[in-house]
Amino acid sequence: MKKSIKNIFVEGAITPEKIAQSIAAHQSKTGIGAHDIFLGQVRADEIEGKIVQAIEFTAQIEMANQICHDIKEHTFERHPIHCMHIYHSIGKVKAGEICIFVFVSAAHRTTVFNALQEVVNEIKANVPIFGKELFEDETHQWKENK
């Protein structure tokens, strides 16, 4: 049976409380021995004298959800993980706030370390999400991933 495609998007910043709830939800899964969590936080970068105040994210939402679903299936095939969750902000996220939350769980730590890095790199490379860095003077610049 195919799993249904989940919505990865969260309006605005991802809160520490949401992350805590997600961690707590795994306490009944007693085969898990290791969790690895990646969080991306909006940096107040200085670009030509102007400081980034926030990033506004847009996306091709349907395709982004489909690609994340495929990344998950692919990761479950390659690594003995128990659980995996991807959340990404849509809309405006202020500097210092969290805009991406990727959570991988397995019996052992080497599994989660390997799987998490792959997943985060694949999300950055393959998911149609676009960040617009907003400055205080209402100008902006389009974010570029390295």
């Binding site: 991306g40 994210f57 847009t58 996306a59 091709q60 349907e62 395709m63 982004a64 489909q66 690609i67 990404h88 805009c99 991406i100 985060v120 999300i123 950055k124 490379a125 393959n126 998911v127 149609p128 999400i129 676009f130 960040g131 617009k132 389009w142 974010k143 570029e144 991933n145």
Partner: protein, 77 residues
Amino acid sequence: MDVTLTYYGKLVEVVGKSKEVLDVEAITIQELVIWLENEYPDLKKLSLKIAQNNTIGELEDEITSKNIDIFPPFSGG
């Protein structure tokens, strides 16, 4: 066939619109890219990705969907 092109991210600014409808017959993605770069020369500086049915296409793929997404480089995360 009328095909709706949807522009994303900075492309909305570069082409000055978020959508447009194009009447095309049996063209490939490569031919669409040529048309785009001709119509909007500033697009040549960007490495575009073209998707139909939520999948990034190869240059030789024929356009079969009525909805085509045109992306600049992704910058999520």
